[in-house]
């Protein structure tokens, strides 16, 4: 057992941290919260040039040929700085699913443009129920002359406002016996006629959208994977995204802990640094429990994913723990800071807002505990 990063990974982390410290200050993060697109095309191009989008893709498509674990480290660093933009949507929810489930032609068509930063992807999975289960997929795709016609409304779709392509999860057979059957994933050109997108105003000021499909025509060669057999792929996307999101959250938590420890060492009240007070020390200790726990489980899950081991169970455990942990870390960090940290211009509320959005993404703690319960043998 060796929980250390490799030397290359340490270099990747350091270079990512240096780059982001320089290029992604909180001023940019705040600006992007107000920005209509929600990301900086210049920065997007820069990270593409650094090979970040392509990091975990094979070299044959222009990728870096590195692993999911390397990508996890990058995501952790992005979470540290609240990196704005459609990186997660494009890489985790667009590119990697195509790499996994796509045909050769699809891979050749889409991956190089993702890797070069030319196209932005997103995944349109959730609908009115807001849930990540198969039964909630009600958007319908109907075969018609070699095409499929998609109708219905997707909700909470990240970055759909800037996406070039949308992986749309739709029901193609509503007579199937189980809700998991009869679901198909389509690669939809976001400029197709009949798509309308409304940006929702969210706590994280990220760009989650309502996407209405109104008779959107998609050629059948744009089916990703197998017709009616899409849920297995979606399941895999959710699990992988849960791990990836947890890595991002780990980075955020670490930053909150670092900020808090630095502040309580320095902030003087009653003639001593407040970090000498036992209550403040205990706040920090419990933050550390959450952070170290998150690191242990997120890395284990990413490593399993990266090395081809089964990871469903670990994905659920990780997202269950990390979702709660980030909330608690932010709450304890705020309490340790006191008044200064509840000001809008303080950095802590940025993390507070993102912690909530991240908790909800790809299943909250309760959703994943249900999976854990199922693995224990309960019928839930």
């Amino acid at each position: 057992m060796d929980p250390r990063l490799s030397e290359e990974q340490e270099i990747l982390r350091k270079s990512a941290r240096d780059f982001l410290t320089d290029k992604c200050p909180k001023t940019l993060v705040r600006e992007m919260e107000k920005d209509e697109k929600g990301y900086s095309p210049e920065l997007w191009k820069e990270i593409a040039d650094l090979g970040w989008m392509g990091l975990a893709f094979p070299e044959e498509y222009g990728g870096g040929g590195m692993s999911s674990l390397d990508l996890a480290i990058l995501l952790e660093e992005m979470g540290r700085v609240c990196f704005p933009g459609p990186f997660f949507s494009t890489v985790i929810c667009g590119g990697l699913p195509i790499l996994d489930a796509g045909s050769d032609a699809q891979k050749r068509k889409y991956l190089p443009d993702i890797i070069s930063g030319k196209t932005i992807f997103t995944l349109a999975l959730t609908e009115a129920s807001g849930k990540y289960d198969a039964a909630s997929v009600k958007v319908k795709a109907t075969a018609e002359n070699g095409n499929y016609i998609i109708n219905g409304t997707k909700l909470f779709i990240p970055d759909a406002n800037v996406a070039d392509y949308i992986l749309c999860v739709a029901r193609t057979d509503d007579k199937a016996k189980k809700p998991e059957d009869g679901i198909t994933v389509f690669i939809v050109d976001a400029k197709s006629q009949g798509i309308s997108t409304t940006v929702l105003k969210t706590i994280a000021r990220d760009k989650q959208c309502e996407v209405v499909f109104n008779g959107v025509k998609v050629p059948k060669e744009n089916i990703l994977g197998e017709l009616n057999q899409g849920w297995g792929d979606v399941q895999k996307i959710i699990e992988r995204a849960a791990i990836a999101k947890s890595c991002e959250m780990l980075g955020g938590m670490e930053m909150v802990l670092d900020m808090t420890v630095a502040y309580v060492k320095e902030r003087v009240q009653f003639d001593v640094p407040v970090g000498v007070f036992q209550a403040v020390q205990h706040h920090c200790v419990y933050m550390l429990v959450e952070v170290e726990g998150s690191r242990a489980t997120a890395y284990e899950a990413a490593w399993r994913l990266s090395t081809g081991r089964p990871y469903s169970s670990e994905a659920a455990i990780t997202k269950a723990w990390v979702s709660d942990a980030y909330q608690r870390v932010v709450a304890l960090g705020t309490q340790s800071h006191g008044g200064v940290s509840i000001m809008e211009d303080h950095d802590l509320p940025l993390y507070f807002r993102r912690a909530k959005a991240a908790e909800l993404a790809f299943g909250d703690a309760r959703f994943h505990r249900k999976t854990v319960a199922r693995n224990l043998g309960f019928k839930v």
Partner: protein, 387 residues
């Protein structure tokens, strides 16, 4: 033993409730929920409340109060909160301290104005380097003939931008051996030359302020209590007001609103089976906090130390924790919809839950952090030793 409000208190509760049902219109509620401080509609309502002697029921009738007790004050606060009416907290609380520490002239000068809703007074304690450790404040007041000259900065002074006066803790003796011995309290006219008010916004969207003093001249008659006797005045404001905690009608309303939402939108889903028990738990905690609060208030009105001496502080501690739990739970119930702000498409319950969730961290920090409250309960209530 009797746990019912007195007939007089019930009548007052009915009166203020009916008054606010009628007068606290949507314009006022919008101003309150905007968190930007009392706006014109709110000011108007406060004046109307003042005209009906609803603002300071605890004060003697000569100062336009009703000569009632802390319980009436608690009823007032509860009704104001549950109606989302503007909250003239600071003026009336400062008035309570003035009743104890002010001279006759000051009482006559300020109390009727507060009670009539004409003037409001903002708290001016905290400074950038003096939060929990209030005795460390540095804003300097130098005596100069018949007035004092003030220089320095306050922070997190909510409502200062809509108030007429500032209840200002200053340092008059920087050489005092114990730092809380060198403090003096003033009431300062916020229109005085040399005062600059700058907005600060919390992450929950609440407008608060930094207030800068630059050679501000304050007449001696605005000194409350003795020079260098400010610590006694602040203690009378913080604890002399007495009373315990309050009623929890507002919180119970939120719980009922959530229950209604769940019953209408979510009842059948199997994964929502956790909700009834969670809501019941919140209701129990809210109810118990309320009982502790009103019982402590009743003890205060009887001028009796409650058993164990914890009093209302214990209730406030529980209520702070419960509040946080309530909005965390509410957000979990709302799921992804919970993250939608009030002016977003699909925002549930008018975005109110999200607003409160974002505002919630404030409640365990401001007006004495929970850590300070626990210290006071431990040492004053339980008699545990200080270092």
């Amino acid at each position: 033993m009797d746990f019912e409000l007195s007939p007089e208190e019930k009548a007052f509760q009915k009166e203020i409730r009916e008054f606010l049902d009628k007068e606290c219109n949507e314009n006022v509620v919008a101003e309150t929920l905007s968190l930007q401080g009392a706006g014109p509609y709110s000011k108007e309502l406060l004046r109307k409340m003042g005209a009906n002697r609803l603002l300071a029921p605890r004060w003697p009738e000569e100062y336009d109060g009703r000569g009632m007790g802390a319980m009436a004050e608690a009823i007032k606060v509860d009704e104001i909160n549950s109606h989302h009416a503007p909250f003239p907290l600071d003026g009336v609380e400062i008035g309570n301290a003035l009743l104890i520490s002010g001279n006759e002239e000051q009482k006559k000068r300020f109390l009727p104005g507060i009670a009539s809703g004409e003037i409001d007074i903002a708290l001016g304690y905290t400074e950038p380097n003096a939060g929990s450790d209030i005795a460390s404040i540095q804003l300097r007041a130098v005596e100069d003939g018949d007035h004092f000259v003030l220089n320095g900065q306050k922070i997190y002074n909510s409502e200062a931008h809509v108030c007429e006066y500032h209840w200002l803790l200053t340092r008059t003796d920087p050489t005092a051996e114990k730092k809380h011995r060198g403090l003096s309290m003033f009431i300062v006219d916020l229109k005085s030359p040399g005062i600059t008010i700058r907005p600060l916004i919390t992450s929950g969207g609440l407008r608060t302020n930094e207030v800068f003093y630059e050679d501000v001249h304050v007449p001696r008659e605005n000194l409350v209590g003795e020079k260098n006797g400010g610590w006694a005045v602040i203690m009378s404001a913080l604890y002399g007001g007495g009373g315990g905690g309050g009623l929890a009608t507002g919180t119970k309303n939120v719980i009922n609103t959530l229950v209604k939402y769940v019953l209408e939108e979510k009842q059948d889903a199997d994964e929502n089976k956790w909700i009834p028990e969670a809501m019941a738990d919140l209701y129990v905690k809210t109810h118990v906090g309320e009982l502790m609060g009103v019982q402590a208030t009743a003890f205060a009105d009887l001028k009796v130390t409650p058993p164990y001496g914890g009093g209302g502080a214990v209730s406030r501690l529980l209520s702070g924790d419960t509040r946080r739990l309530l909005y965390n739970t509410a957000m979990q119930i709302l799921g992804p919809y919970g993250q939608l702000a009030k002016d977003s498409k699909w925002a549930p319950l008018k975005g109110e839950i999200l607003r409160e969730f974002m505002d919630a961290p404030r409640w365990t920090i401001v007006h004495g952090s929970q850590e300070i409250q626990k210290l006071l309960i431990a040492t004053r209530g339980l008699g545990l030793p200080r270092k």
